[in-house]
Symmetry: C2
Subunit: 73 residues, 2 copies
DNA sequence: CTGTGACTTGAAGTCCGTC
DNA sequence: AGACGGACTTCAAGTCACA
């Protein structure tokens, strides 16, 4: 699994859990909505600084967004 | 603590634990020695794809490099 | 062996709009 | 609400010489 895909999947999951649209999330996180879209689809390769911006907007730690889903869960 | 500093500190710690010089690590990870230097000092803002390259070279998961040191340890 | 400044090229990141 | 396109500016990627 590609890191970008992994990152995007985690972002989407957490964003949905918070019941936010891409636009709303982009607004609170201070990130362009088209960029959010690209990231969630694994098309973008964000920097670690941007990654933290995503994390803060989602209320989680950065490393959580790069964590591989636990198999046994 | 800035993410870049955090990332760099983790990289340096892990690299030292493996007893590698920046040059040696750069070689195994396929990253320029000066780039490694810049990252370890928190001057660079690597992308998540680069971050994974660092992780692979160090034999750890990506999220580990962005993990904040546990206070109670 | 490492730090550092400088440099070119490519991609990150933003903004516009459309479907 | 979200996918997707183009054009644009900024900055990261990657490498060098030198301390």
């Amino acid at each position: 699994m590609d890191v970008r895909q992994l990152f995007g999947t985690n972002v989407r999951r957490l964003r949905l859990e918070k019941g936010l649209s891409q636009e709303e999330f982009g607004f609170v996180a201070g990130i362009d909505r088209t960029y959010v879209s690209g990231v969630e689809r694994g098309l973008r390769n964000p920097t670690i600084v941007l990654a933290e911006k995503f994390a803060q907007g989602l209320g989680v730690e950065v490393d959580e967004l790069l964590r591989r889903p636990a198999k046994g869960a």
